[in-house]
């Protein structure tokens, strides 16, 4: 699961995350920090609701004053798709939800949820040091470029890209599980070096 995918499903799965999402949180510091921040906001919001809700007498006084001013009328049933709050007790949830959504959006943006150069329809992941990066659309583009120049070489590049991606995947897992193991770290460097080599070979020496 990529960071983008995780952050996209987070609002929906908040409080009931799947094992895949939990796995991602364990492995991604950036998303883990995001979850912690949101949890803190959520906890604080609950405290606000419990302590700051006015008494019914206050609401009655406000209603009387507003009717006297002609600012409010008898309640009319809502006929639009916008839902109505059936109970005043839940009225604080509306602005709270808005605040949460706003904060969530700001946090996503600040944490670089949108990386430069990302365009819609391109399946890419943000790559952070030590995080496995598989960009199938990007690789497909590379293979297409190879095929345009030298069709016979496309199968070779495709096979070796898969090879290298598997190497990176294994090396990243090993490095993540053994952060103090220099051999695991070196293997990861070797794997990335291989990928860089394949990319460079694919992009090198164009045919006019």
């Amino acid at each position: 699961m990529t960071c983008d995918e995780f952050q996209r499903v987070l609002p929906e799965s908040w409080g009931a995350q799947s094992s895949e999402e939990q796995e991602h949180v364990k492995s991604c510091r950036s998303c883990a920090d995001l979850v912690l921040d949101l949890q803190a906001i959520s906890d604080t919001a609950r405290l606000l609701q419990a302590t700051d809700e006015p008494s019914p007498r206050v609401w009655n006084s406000i209603e009387i004053a507003l009717r006297r001013e002609g600012l409010i009328h008898e309640a009319r049933p809502l006929r639009s798709f916008v839902f109505a709050w059936p109970q005043r007790r839940l009225a604080w949830l509306m602005p709270l939800t808005a605040v949460l959504a706003l904060v969530f959006g700001v946090l996503i943006f600040e944490r670089g949820g949108r990386s430069p150069g990302m365009s819609s329809g391109v399946e890419t992941r943000q790559s952070t040091p030590g995080e496995f990066t598989l960009a199938s659309a990007e690789e497909e583009q590379l293979l297409k470029m190879v095929a345009d120049r030298a069709p016979a070489l496309r199968p070779v590049f495709e096979s070796d890209l898969r090879n290298v991606d598997a190497y990176i995947k294994d090396a990243e897992l090993s490095a993540r599980n053994n952060p103090n193991d220099e051999i695991a770290q070196q293997s990861l460097m070797n794997a990335y070096e291989q990928r860089a080599m394949v990319y460079q070979m694919a992009l090198d020496r164009s045919v006019p």
């Binding site: 070779v156 590049f157 090879n163 190497y167 294994d170 045919v207 006019p208």
Partner: protein, 284 residues
């Protein structure tokens, strides 16, 4: 012989000769000669076809190119001591019609850089740096001393023979790598699925790193080899024919998955690492 048959035979002979002549004429032969000074730099980029580099006396770089069709042309340039040759594919060319065969003679101290998608690439008896990059072609380097050897390939077979006193760095995705009598201060092979075969004594005072993802690693050494060896495979079998004196490692040595120890005076450091390939340190 009847006259009709004689005429047919003559016509047939003419046709055959014409075809041969046409075939020969279809191949274009180009020779280039460059005067150079001490330690020249020679770069050849050839998408399709072999490149062979050998030493010659004197201060000249001589390039002999056979172009297999008129759909490819050779660009050549010289800037001082730097020679650059490249095959330029014209529209409509393919692996056959775009092929150029290069035979190159250089001063022994020349630094050589060769690129070819299909190869093969060959360099021998040089003292300068040798950089070879190929996609699928075979790469052969032999009898190079005091120069650095860099090889990058995707699935071409790499063979290094009698390379001494220089750095050796090889990166191969799926091509096998064979090193025979290769010694030097720094020898590194990075393979993904290709096998790594080393046959030598690991010299003295060198650092050897043979690593792979899934490719097997087999190192064959004599009993007099002087090495400090560490071998580890995450998922593959690891074995040694030698009785090693224990040495320190930063990781736990599990029998069958790793070993570490020294032989002789431990003059050279040898690291054999694989993720799932088998590792075997053989006694010659």
């Amino acid at each position: 012989m009847q006259p009709g048959f004689r005429r047919a035979a003559s016509l047939g002979t003419v046709v055959i000769l014409a075809v041969t002549a046409y075939a020969v004429g279809d191949e274009l032969h180009r020779d280039y000669r460059f005067k150079v000074g001490h330690r020249p730099s020679v770069s050849i980029v050839n998408q399709y076809g072999p490149i062979s580099v050998k030493p010659a006396n004197g201060h000249h770089v001589i390039v002999s190119a056979i172009l297999h069709s008129d759909k490819v042309e050779v660009f050549q340039s010289q800037s001082g001591n730097r020679i650059s040759i490249s095959s330029h594919l014209l529209p409509g060319s393919d692996a056959e019609s775009g092929r150029v065969d290069y035979e190159v003679l250089v001063p022994a101290d020349a630094s050589v850089t060769l690129h070819s998608a299909t190869g093969p690439l060959h360099a021998e008896r040089l003292h300068g740096d040798v950089i070879l990059e190929g996609n699928t072609g075979r790469v052969d380097v032999s009898d190079v001393s005091e120069g650095h050897v860099h090889v990058r390939t995707m699935d071409g077979l790499v063979t290094l023979t009698n390379i001494t006193d220089g750095h050796v760095e090889i990166t191969s995705v799926s091509g096998n790598v064979a090193l025979k009598t290769v010694t030097g201060p720094f020898i590194q092979v990075n393979s993904s699925s290709g096998k790594i075969l080393y046959d030598g004594d690991f010299g003295s005072g060198g650092q050897y790193e043979l690593t792979s993802h899934t490719g097997d690693i087999e190192a064959t050494a004599p009993s007099y080899a002087s090495i400090d060896v560490t071998a580890r495979s995450e998922q593959g079998k690891v074995e040694s024919d030698f009785a090693l004196s224990p040495s320190y490692t930063s990781f736990a040595v599990r029998a069958g998955s790793a070993f570490a120890g020294t032989m002789g005076k431990a003059a050279s450091s040898v690291k054999l690492f694989s993720f799932s390939g088998r590792i075997h340190l053989r006694k010659r």
